[in-house]
C-alpha cells in the first residue's frame, strides 16, 4: 500500500452540494473542481455520492488493552473506517485504565500500526477511574499521544471538588474534561430509563434528573473557573434545555449525542433483550425529538458513537446481568442520515460539521501534520469519505468489522452507506469493503 496514492474522485457532491471532482495526491487534497490533472491517478466515479471530510468520533471504546475478546485497536479502527471515520478518540476504561502516559502511548502506537484511523487516546481524569484522586493528566498531555480529552467515561466524576480541580488543571495544556453525567446515588442499580415502562417491567429506573443535575452543576463549575466542559452522550430533553440556556449565556460547554439516542426509544426494553441495554439508557420519544432538535439547532455540537463492543455472553443473558453498551461506528452515518438528513433537520454540510469539524476542534486534533476535521479544500489533508445517500441496507450484525455483535440495529433497514474512506489519501475502505 503506497502512502502516496493518487485518486481522482469524479462527480461527487461536495458536502451534498454541486458535483465536482476531487484530486487526492501525496496525502493532501491537490485540487477541487473540473478538469483536474489526472496523471497517474486512479479514477473513482462518484456520481450521485456525497463527499464529506473524514468523520471524527470523540467517543469510542476500543477495549484494548484488556478486553481483546470484545475489540482490539485493529478491529475497532477497521469498524471505524467502514463507518467513514478517519479518527477516533479511544476511551480510557481499558484494563489497565488509560490513566498513565504509558498506557495512552501504547494505545496511540497500536493505532499507528493498524493504520485504519488515527487513534487519539482519551486519558482518565482520576486514577483507575475511581473518582478519588487526579491521574497524571499533564504526563498524558505531554506524551507522544498528546492527550487533550480527559474522561472517566463509564463513571461520573461526581465529587464536585475533584471535578472543579480537573476543569482548572487541564487549562494548562488546553485540555477538556468530557463528563459522563450520572449522579451515582440516584442511579444505584439502575437498569433502564425511569418511566411508566420501568415501573411495569420491574426494572430499576435511571431518572433523567440524574443526568441533568450533573450537567447543570458542571456548567456552573466550568463557568466559575473559566474552563471548557464537554458533555458525553446527552440523552434527555431537560439536558438539551440546560445546555441551550448555557450557550445562550455564552458559557464554554459542548455536548454530544449518540446515534442510538437519536433513533431508539425505551420501548425496545420491553423485550428484555439486553442488546438494548446502554448507559445512559434509551429514553422516551419526547427525548429523542428533543435531542434531534438540539443537534439541528447547534445546542448539541456533535454526534459521537459511544461504540461499546461486548462479547456475546455479556449480552445473551438476563437483563440485570448484562453489560451496558452497543456498537455504533459502522452504522453512525446511516442513523444520522435517517434521523437528521432524510427528515430535513440537517443538510450534509451540517453533518460534516457535527461529525467531523466540531469533534476535531473539541478534541484539539484539527491542527498539525495529522489534522482531522479540516475543510475539503486544496492543501488540506486528504481525509475523505464517500457516502451513497440513495443506498439502503438491512443491518446484519454478522457482517461487521468489529469483533463484537451487540448491534441494536440488527434487522433494521437503514439508508445510506459508506462507499469509500481515505486516510491522508490512502483508501482504507473501497467499494464498501476494507482495503
Amino acid at each position: 500500500m503506497s502512502e502516496h496514492q493518487t485518486t481522482l474522485i469524479t462527480g461527487a457532491r461536495i458536502l451534498g452540494g454541486e458535483p465536482a471532482d476531487l484530486l487526492l495526491r501525496d496525502g493532501v487534497i491537490a485540487g477541487v473542481g473540473q478538469g483536474l490533472d489526472d496523471t497517474g491517478a486512479t479514477i473513482l466515479d462518484a456520481a450521485g455520492l456525497v463527499v464529506l471530510p473524514g468523520l471524527v468520533d470523540l467517543h469510542t471504546h476500543l477495549r484494548e488493552p484488556g478486553r481483546e475478546d470484545a475489540e482490539t485497536v485493529l478491529t475497532g479502527t477497521q469498524a471505524a473506517a467502514m463507518g467513514g471515520f478517519t479518527a477516533v478518540h479511544a476511551m480510557a476504561n481499558t484494563e489497565p485504565v488509560a490513566d498513565t502516559a504509558g498506557v495512552v502511548e501504547q494505545v496511540w502506537r497500536l493505532g499507528r500500526e493498524a493504520g485504519y484511523a488515527d487513534v487519539r487516546p482519551v486519558g482518565a481524569v482520576t486514577v483507575g477511574l475511581a473518582g478519588q484522586r487526579l491521574a497524571e493528566l499533564g504526563a498524558m498531555a505531554d506524551s507522544a499521544a498528546g492527550v487533550r480529552v480527559f474522561s472517566d467515561d463509564g463513571h461520573c466524576v461526581s465529587d464536585a471538588v475533584l471535578m472543579r480541580r480537573a476543569l482548572e488543571y487541564v487549562k494548562a495544556f488546553d485540555g477538556v474534561v468530557a463528563q459522563h453525567a450520572q449522579e451515582p446515588r440516584l442511579t444505584e442499580g439502575a437498569q433502564m430509563n425511569e418511566s411508566v415502562l420501568s415501573g411495569q417491567l420491574g426494572l430499576r429506573g435511571w431518572p433523567c434528573v440524574a443526568e441533568e443535575a450533573i450537567i447543570a452543576r458542571d456548567i456552573l463549575l466550568a463557568a466559575h473557573v473559566g474552563s471548557r466542559l464537554h458533555i458525553c452522550h446527552l440523552s434527555t430533553q431537560g439536558s438539551v434545555e440546560i445546555v441551550r440556556l448555557a450557550k445562550q449565556r455564552g458559557l464554554p460547554v459542548t455536548a454530544e449525542v449518540t446515534p442510538h439516542h437519536l433513533l431508539l426509544t425505551e420501548d425496545l426494553v420491553a423485550s428484555y433483550d439486553a442488546r438494548y441495554k446502554v448507559n445512559p439508557p434509551l429514553r422516551s420519544a419526547d427525548d429523542v425529538a428533543a435531542v434531534r432538535a438540539g443537534l439541528a439547532d447547534g445546542t448539541i455540537d456533535i454526534v459521537a458513537t459511544d461504540h461499546a463492543p461486548h462479547p456475546v455472553e455479556d449480552k445473551e443473558c438476563e437483563w440485570d446481568a448484562a453489560a451496558f453498551g452497543m456498537l455504533g461506528l459502522e452504522t453512525a452515518i446511516s442513523v444520522v442520515q435517517h434521523t437528521m438528513v432524510d427528515t430535513g433537520l440537517l443538510n450534509w454540510a451540517g453533518v460534516a460539521e457535527r461529525m467531523s469539524s466540531a469533534p476535531a476542534r473539541i478534541g484539539r486534533c484539527d491542527t498539525g501534520d495529522d489534522a482531522q476535521g479540516r475543510p475539503l479544500a486544496v492543501g488540506e489533508p486528504a481525509n475523505v469519505v464517500l457516502v451513497d445517500p440513495s443506498a439502503s441496507r438491512t443491518v446484519d450484525s454478522t457482517a461487521s468489522a468489529s469483533l463484537s455483535r451487540n448491534n441494536p440495529y440488527e434487522g433494521m433497514k437503514l439508508p445510506g452507506g459508506v462507499v469509500a474512506t481515505f486516510l491522508r489519501g490512502r483508501p482504507t475502505v473501497s467499494d464498501g469493503a476494507l482495503v
Binding site: 415501573g199 420491574g202 445473551e316 440485570d320
Partner: protein, 318 residues
C-alpha cells in the same frame, strides 16, 4: 390459552377465568380424597428451576405437578446466574437436552422468565414463578381464586393492596389480573414505595390507609422488608406500622364481609399484627392450599395435550 405463563398482563379475561374454573375443578377432584393424584400429566417432566430460594413456592409447584402425576425435577441454581460458568442460557440448554416439558422458573432478575421463553434456547412451556420485581402470575391467580371463593365474581369488587408496591411482583401481577377480571384496585403506600408513573396504571392510588378501608371488599397486605428504611423509603419500622400496618383498630373499620390476604411470608408486627393475621376473616392459610389448585390448573392447561386444542384437552379431563 397462552403458550407460556409469564405475566398476568398476557391473560385475556377468558384465559384467566379458564384457569380459575379449572382450579375449582382441581379442588373438587382432589380435596378431601385419600388418593389425591390425577393421571393427567403422566409421562411429562416439569422442572422447578429456582435461581432464588423460595421453599414455599417451589413446594407448591412440586405438590401441584405431582398431584397431576408429572415427573418433577428440582433444579436449584442459586447464585449461579450471574457467574459466567452457569448462565441462564446454559441452564436452559441443559434442561432442553433433558427433555423438560415445562419449566417453572424463579429468578432475581426481572424478565428472566421472559428471556427463557423467547430466546429460542428451549422448547418447553415456561411458567414464571416470580422474576425480580416484575411479576408472579400464579400468586395473583391464587389470590383471585381465593377472593372469588369468598366474595363471588370479582366484577366491581374493591380490592385494596397495601405496602411495598414498587418492589412487589405480587402487586404488579395482581393489578393486571384483578383489573382484567373487572375488580377496582386501590394501591395504598407511602409515595416512596409507589413506582414512577403509577397514576397511569389501571388503579386508584391513596396515601392514607384509613380513608379506603370502609368500602373495601378485600385487603391484601404486602410484605415490607425492614431493610428498606436504610434506603430512606420510610423513616422507621414503627412509623411504617403506624401509618400502613393492619392492626385491630383498622381491621374494625372494614366491612363485616371483607377478607384479609397476605402473599407470605408475613412480618408479624410490621405490616400486619398477629391478631389480624390469625382472625377468622384472614384467608392467609387458605391462600396456600389454593396455590396448589391454581398451579395444578396452570400446569394442566399448558402441558396436558400441549399440542392439541386446549378446549378439547379440557373436555377430555372433565
Amino acid at each position: 390459552m397462552i403458550r407460556h405463563l409469564l405475566s398476568t398482563a398476557d391473560l385475556s379475561r377468558a384465559d384467566a377465568l379458564l384457569i380459575l374454573d379449572t382450579a375449582e375443578e382441581m379442588a373438587r377432584l382432589t380435596a378431601g380424597r385419600s388418593v389425591k393424584k390425577l393421571p393427567t400429566l403422566r409421562g411429562r417432566t416439569v422442572v422447578n428451576l429456582f435461581f432464588e430460594d423460595s421453599t414455599r413456592t417451589r413446594t407448591s409447584f412440586e405438590v401441584a405437578a405431582k398431584r397431576l402425576s408429572a415427573d418433577v425435577v428440582n433444579f436449584s441454581a442459586k447464585g449461579s446466574s450471574v457467574s459466567k460458568g452457569e448462565s441462564l442460557k446454559d441452564t436452559a440448554l441443559t434442561l432442553a437436552a433433558m427433555g423438560a416439558d415445562g419449566v417453572v422458573v424463579r429468578h432475581a432478575a426481572s424478565g428472566a422468565a421472559y428471556r427463557l421463553a423467547t430466546s429460542g434456547w428451549i422448547d418447553a412451556r415456561v411458567l414464571n414463578a416470580g422474576d425480580g420485581t416484575h411479576e408472579h402470575p400464579t400468586q395473583a391467580l391464587l389470590d383471585a381464586f381465593t377472593i372469588r371463593r369468598h366474595l363471588g365474581p370479582l366484577d366491581g369488587r374493591r380490592i385494596v393492596i397495601v405496602g411495598d408496591v414498587i418492589h412487589s411482583r405480587v402487586a404488579r401481577s395482581n393489578v393486571a389480573l384483578l383489573s382484567t377480571l373487572g375488580a377496582d384496585v386501590v394501591l395504598v403506600a407511602p409515595p416512596t414505595l409507589l413506582p414512577l408513573g403509577v397514576e397511569q396504571w389501571p388503579v386508584e392510588v391513596a396515601y392514607d390507609l384509613d380513608g379506603v378501608l370502609a368500602d373495601a371488599d378485600a385487603v391484601m397486605m404486602l410484605r415490607v422488608q425492614r431493610e428498606r428504611m436504610n434506603a430512606a423509603f420510610f423513616p422507621s419500622a414503627r412509623e411504617y406500622s403506624r401509618r400502613y400496618g393492619l392492626d385491630v383498630r383498622r381491621f374494625a373499620r372494614l366491612p363485616e364481609s371483607a377478607i384479609v390476604l397476605h402473599p407470605g411470608p408475613m412480618n408479624r408486627g410490621m405490616e400486619i399484627t398477629a391478631d389480624v393475621a390469625d382472625s377468622p376473616r384472614s384467608v392467609i392459610v387458605e391462600q396456600v392450599s389454593n396455590g396448589v389448585y391454581v398451579r395444578m390448573a396452570a400446569l394442566y392447561l399448558m402441558l396436558a395435550g400441549a399440542d392439541d386444542d386446549v378446549m378439547s384437552a379440557q373436555e377430555g379431563a372433565a
